[in-house]
């Protein structure tokens, strides 16, 4: 046996010489494969050579990787793709041999070999990867999973990974996970970030142990770096790597990571039973977690709620004390808190609510015995909220100026900075915020208000308009309106056509015919009306004008009010005007006609209109076509009937009152419409009526009241056409009707109370007022009651003739021009004689009227 052994010893010496010299007995240089073989022999029998052997074994792996890379490059050059052909089979079998031997050692004595081999394989991996990074096929910019995919194609790398995983499994199985994790982390730190994928991949094999270990190690390292570097200038190497690795692991084990993060947090709070964390680490935990969250917001995703739940007042006080112990200025931590919040998407609303709640916690309580620390906690919250809003505002402003101001918008350069997940998510909750701001007391409102403004600025005009309209729609009282106005004033600075959108959005919101939206619409309109924005709303009169035709009376009334509240003249487009009138008048008429209980009020509107127009007519510069108004039609036709039907009824007072209001409104509107000047800058106070508008109005009224009337040409119809086209024009038809009536009248005297008589008087009166007729015939209307029907008929037909000869002028004329007009024609003299003859015949009755009728003046 001794001989055997000394032989063996001799052999060993030979192998050692072979190994060390790298040449065989004949001086031939050994290949890597051969060296590997002799190395394995030494590994089996010379314990002290193990390190050297392992070092030698690296060569064969390097060679394999090198060959693979060269092969990849060759393929890339030749244009072929795909998996490189098998490497040198000898090399592959050497690799296999090594990994088998090494794994056997680990199996036989894990305690001694597993850490050694684990470290070796990981180190070698680090070398291989670092050395070949940047070569073709593998690049440093790869993501973790890409890295795994690419590198695992390398046979040598795969072998090494297998070995490393084998070792770590052994270590973990024996409860020595610490060793393994330590080893992994050391390697990771040494060749970070090249080896992050290795750490992540291996770590995922025993994640239950790995994740907490990783976290606690990183925390330790972070603590150390904090206490050494003082400020965070001495950044820890471990944490970024850890975050990378965790981010990878979170693909599969996110729940575990989250619970571990939470555990760390809970352990950091003093008084928690059963923690064996050092005080220094406890103190460093919060900054550490914040650091982690800053590096990777996604890691905290889903934990926000739990974190917030954990932050009960007692804990907050403890955290405050911790921060005092850390001796840092409170702001530094708050700043990073704010950073984290800014980048937190999920749970943003929860965070905001939490901040709000704590901001005003002690305020709501009776401030009898508030703990001083509680006050300080509150202060911190105030500071946090302030800073958060400030940062968000910055981000929003940057984004805004980038999107709306600069033409050369490059999304890559600054898009990261200006993005805020928090704002993105919060903008989805803007509806909620709008409701809250209106519902809450004045305490919380400023913060919500500012946030709403920021959201508005951040997420664009549509969104801003959405916010405004939400607020507006939900406005219930003056305070609410004030909020809206303030909000609008803020946001208006950022968007040019904001109100446009607001109005549009509002109206589209309340478009659906449901009762609730109807009420909303009414509220909205009155809100518009009361919001003192009339001057700004002027542009949208058209929009509101469209609402005039809304089937709901209240809606149309509100919109009418709104339109009227716009002091500025309406746009000088006839079509607009037409539409407006059409809507308003048409609506009123139709509406009233359809609702019988209001029918009796119709007279009211007529009289009102008349009064109003009369007033206007008192203006000497105006000549209008009043006879063309539909009032006469009403008077002779429909209205008469209505009046008859309803005379017995006494109108309900309140209804009457409301109707009076309505009609006043209408009158005002019509008046306003007609007062529009062509020139924007003309003086509004003069209230000049404009001819063309009045014309249009008349036409419109005609159209509405007598839908079957042929459009007016403004030429008085021919005498002959009288019988055929009695209704051809409004006035002539009226006159004709009246004439026909008198012609067949066989009574000796006139019944003054008859409708007939009144209509006649009215018509003549109107024609007189319109200066259609020359004196004296224009003045005979006053004496109709003293005449016989036959005589009245004669006078009326004389009027007809005059009108035939002098059709009513199409435009207003000066009195002088009118007089000149009369003096030219024959009808002028005729009418004078006819009137004179009638006076002569009835001189007894009419004598004292003569002077008045035949007065020379005009």
């Amino acid at each position: 046996m001794a001989d055997n052994l000394s032989n063996e010893s001799k052999n060993l010496r030979t192998q050692l010489n072979l190994f060390l010299s790298g040449t065989d007995e004949s001086g031939q240089i050994l290949s890597n494969v051969e060296k590997t073989q002799s190395a394995i022999v030494l590994l089996h029998s010379l314990p002290c050579a193990r390190h050297a052997v392992l070092e030698q074994l690296c060569d064969v792996f390097h060679e394999a990787v090198q060959k693979y890379v060269v092969e990849l490059e060759r393929q890339a050059l030749s244009g072929t793709t795909g998996h490189p052909a098998d490497l040198d089979p000898e090399l592959l079998s050497a690799l296999q041999n090594v990994s088998e031997v090494v794994c056997r050692f680990v199996d036989n004595n894990p305690t001694a070999w597993a850490p050694l081999i684990c470290e070796w394989s990981l180190n070698l991996l680090g070398q291989v990867v670092t050395r070949n990074n940047g070569r073709r096929g593998v690049s440093i910019t790869m993501s973790l999973s890409e890295g795994i995919h690419k590198w695992m194609l390398f046979p040598a790398v795969r072998r090494l990974m297998d070995i490393a995983i084998h070792c770590s499994a052994k270590l973990v199985g024996r409860g020595q996970a610490d060793v393994c994790v330590q080893c992994l982390l050391q390697i990771a730190m040494k060749s970070s970030p090249h080896l992050d994928w290795v750490v992540a991949h291996i770590g995922s094999h025993f994640h239950e142990v790995f994740i907490p270990k990783l976290l606690s190690t990183a925390l330790k390292e972070y603590t150390a770096s904090q206490s050494l570097g003082g400020i965070s200038g001495e950044a820890s190497v471990m944490t970024p790597t850890m975050v990378q690795v965790l981010a990878y692991l979170s693909l599969q084990h996110s729940q575990e990571i989250k619970s571990n993060l939470l555990t760390i947090f809970h352990e950091s709070i003093p008084n928690t039973a059963g923690t064996d964390i050092k005080p220094a680490e406890q103190l460093a935990t919060l900054p550490f977690l914040l650091h982690v969250a800053t590096l990777s917001p996604s890691l905290l995703r889903g934990t926000i709620k739990e974190f917030l739940d954990a932050l009960i007042p007692e804990v907050l006080i403890q955290l405050l004390e911790q921060s005092k112990k850390r001796g840092e200025t409170r702001k530094s931590l708050i700043s990073s808190v704010v950073d984290v919040i800014k980048n937190t998407g999920e749970g943003a609303l929860d965070i905001f609510q939490f901040l709000l709640k704590n901001l005003h916690e002690s305020n709501s309580k009776a401030c009898v015995d508030v703990h001083p620390t509680q006050v300080e906690v509150k202060k911190s919250f105030v500071l946090t909220m302030e800073l958060l809003l400030h940062r968000l505002q910055e981000a929003a402003l940057q984004r805004h100026s980038l999107l709306y101001k600069s033409s050369s918008f490059s999304p890559h350069t600054e898009s990261k900075q200006i993005e805020s997940e928090f704002l993105k998510v919060m903008s989805c909750h803007s509806q909620y915020l709008c409701k809250t701001i209106l519902a809450t007391d004045s305490n919380k409102a400023p913060s919500i208000f500012r946030l709403l403004v920021i959201i508005g600025v951040h997420s664009g005009q549509t969104s801003a308009a959405g916010i405004l309209s939400q607020v507006l729609i939900n406005c219930k009282n003056a305070n609410h309106l004030e909020v809206f106005v303030q909000l609008y004033k803020e946001l208006r600075l950022y968007y040019t056509h904001l109100l446009d959108d607001v109005v549009k959005t509002c109206l589209s919101c309340s478009k659906s015919p449901a009762a609730s939206s109807l009420a909303q619409l009414v509220g909205l309109l009155s809100n518009f009306h009361r919001s003192n924005l009339s001057s700004s709303l002027q542009k949208y009169r058209i929009v509101f004008a469209n609402l005039l035709s809304h089937p709901n009376l209240e809606v149309s009334l509100k919109s009418l009010k709104l339109v009227l509240s716009c002091h500025k003249p309406l746009p000088d487009k006839v079509s607009t005007l037409m539409k407006l009138c059409n809507n308003s008048v048409g609506h009123c008429k139709v509406h009233q006609a359809m609702r019988k209980e209001h029918v009796h009020l119709f007279g009211g509107i007529l009289s009102e209109v008349k009064v109003s127009l009369l007033e206007r007519n008192s203006n000497p510069h105006i000549s209008s076509h009043l006879p063309l108004t539909p009032s006469s039609v009403f008077f002779s036709g429909i209205v008469g009937d209505i009046k008859k039907r309803n005379r017995s009824k006494t109108p309900d007072r309140t209804e009457l009152q409301s109707w009076l209001q309505t009609s006043q409104l209408l009158t005002d509107m019509v008046f306003t419409l007609c007062c529009i000047s062509d020139h924007e800058d003309s003086d509004n106070t003069s209230l000049t009526l404009h001819h063309k508008y009045v014309d249009s109005l008349a036409l419109l009224l005609m159209e509405i009241v007598c839908p079957d009337v042929i459009p007016i040409t403004f030429d008085w119809p021919d005498d002959d056409s009288l019988k055929f086209t009695m209704e051809s024009t409004l006035m002539s038809s009226l006159l004709a009707t009246v004439m026909a009536n008198w012609e067949v009248h066989r009574d000796v005297s006139v019944d003054q109370s008859s409708l007939h008589f009144k209509v006649t008087c009215f018509i003549t009166d109107l024609m007189t007022k319109a200066s259609w007729l020359p004196p004296p015939i224009s003045r005979v209307g006053a004496v109709f009651s003293l005449l016989q029907p036959k005589e009245i008929y004669t006078l009326l037909s004389t009027m007809w003739k005059v009108l035939k000869e002098f059709p009513p002028p199409s435009s207003a004329m000066t009195p002088e021009a009118t007089r000149q007009r009369w003096q030219q024609g024959a009808a002028f003299k005729t009418q004078k004689e006819v009137v004179k003859a009638i006076f002569v015949n009835n001189i007894g009755k009419l004598g004292h009227h003569y002077a008045r009728v035949f007065e020379e003046s005009w």
Binding site: R13, L16, F19
Partner: protein, 428 residues
């Protein structure tokens, strides 16, 4: 090599222009490649010691000592502090091979021990400079290699080194445990090499045993320290190795070292101050402890039946070997060898066979026995089995005492022995 160079490389021949020669040597060393430079340093040192007789070892002056220190630091230890590059693992292995072969080819014991001590002796200066660590590390590997490659000469030098550092148990035990770790735990396949050690270098085997017994005391003396049962009990392979050693050569336990070797090469620094209790001078008492305490200490519930049986067998082999050793010692006493020279300051007074075992040692051992017996009874395992084990242990204890007394290797009064007996449970 021409005459001039011959002269220059032999430090002993330096008479004049010492600084010039020093710089010449430094320069030529720096020009030579690794591992030649390391080899040259060792050869130079050997040449230096070769020029002196063992009775009058060289005593270099301060200047020369400093030069030697420098060179050794740079080319043997490659300590990074001295500006050299640290070696790769393969180069480290190469260095070991160079040192081994140098020592293997040196015929003079005196030169080997001198050079070895010059290279690896731990001085108080080393402790101050923090160089102990690297020395011990290199030593570990060196010894480990020497065991496998049968570098008997180097092992011998190492044994001397261990003896000379026996008042610094921490250092010696480090080397011991590292060798055991290498052969028993890391590469069990290489265990035969270790088993064979006693044949090649009985001195080294003896020193190793001394260390091993301290490493695995079975019963922990210091109450403050809590050792796991794994380290406090000798592992089975180790037991096997030790048993095979002393069965082949029972006089291993009685080995002593030639005093000339113990003083060679002490060149520099002050003598290392003793620290705590020194290592025992021989393994005999420790082996007795193993033989007596093992039956009581083995946690039988853990170990398998096979291992249990094996361990029992090995312990009885140990027991036999101890008794044989006593017999041998008494024989040696009858034919006394030449008187050994004792250096002042060296603790060699126990080499006398009459002091192989003292009453105080026995007292301690009996206390440990009682402690273990109480422990195992408290556990209330298999009572019959425990009684059996206790009986075995006490039998061994009594038999050994008997032989020791008969061979007059025991120095104790009757009263002392009686007080010990009274405490132990009676045997059948």
């Amino acid at each position: 090599m021409n005459d001039f160079e011959e002269d220059t490389w032999n430090i002993a021949s330096w008479k004049a222009d010492i600084p010039g020669k020093v710089s010449f040597i430094k320069h030529s060393l720096s020009c030579s490649q690794f591992p030649d430079c390391s080899r040259n340093v060792i050869l130079m040192l050997e040449k230096y010691f070769n020029s002196y007789a063992p009775e009058s070892p060289p005593n270099p002056g301060l200047y020369l000592s400093a030069f030697l220190d420098d060179v050794i630091d740079l080319y043997i230890f490659h300590s990074t502090g001295s500006g050299a590059k640290s070696l790769s693992a393969i180069q480290g292995l190469q260095l070991l091979e160079v040192i081994c072969s140098c020592f293997q080819h040196q015929k003079s014991d005196f030169v080997r021990c001198g050079v070895f001590y010059l290279l690896f002796g731990v001085t108080s200066q080393d402790i101050k400079d923090g160089k102990v660590e690297q020395k011990v590390e290199l030593l570990n590997k060196l010894v480990s290699m020497a065991v496998a490659l049968h570098c008997d000469h180097l092992l011998e030098s190492m044994a001397v080194w261990m003896q000379r550092h026996h008042h610094r148990p921490d250092i010696v035990l480090k080397v011991t445990s590292s060798i055991i770790e290498d052969y028993i735990s890391l590469v069990p396949a290489s265990l035969p090499f270790l088993q064979n050690l006693a044949m090649h270098s009985p001195l080294m085997a003896c020193q190793l045993m001394t260390g091993l017994i301290v490493l695995h005391p079975i019963v922990n003396r210091q109450k403050g320290q809590k050792c796991s049962t794994n380290t406090i009990l000798p592992p089975l392979p180790l037991l096997k190795v030790v048993a095979s050693w002393i069965n082949q050569t029972p006089d291993l336990c009685l080995m002593t070292l030639p005093s000339t070797l113990l003083t060679a090469g002490r060149l520099r620094g002050s003598f290392l101050p003793p620290e705590s209790t020194p290592l025992p001078s021989g393994p005999l008492l420790g082996l007795l402890r193993w033989a007596v305490l093992m039956p009581l200490a083995r946690d039988f519930s853990v170990i398998g039946r096979q291992a249990q049986h094996e361990s029992r067998l090995l312990c009885s082999q140990l027991h036999l070997a101890i008794i044989q050793a006593f017999l041998l010692a008494s024989k040696n006493e009858e034919n006394p060898q030449e008187e050994m020279e004792l250096e002042p300051g060296e603790v060699m007074d126990e080499s006398d066979s009459r002091h192989l075992i003292k009453a105080s040692d026995l007292k301690e051992l009996s206390q440990d026995m009682i402690k273990l017996i109480d422990n195992s009874r408290a556990l209330e395992l298999n009572k019959g089995f425990i009684d059996q084990q206790v009986q075995l242990s006490i039998d061994r204890f009594a038999q050994t005492l008997q032989v020791a007394m008969a061979t007059s290797c025991l120095s104790a009064t009757k009263d002392e022995l009686l007080s010990i007996y009274k405490r132990l449970p009676g045997n059948k």
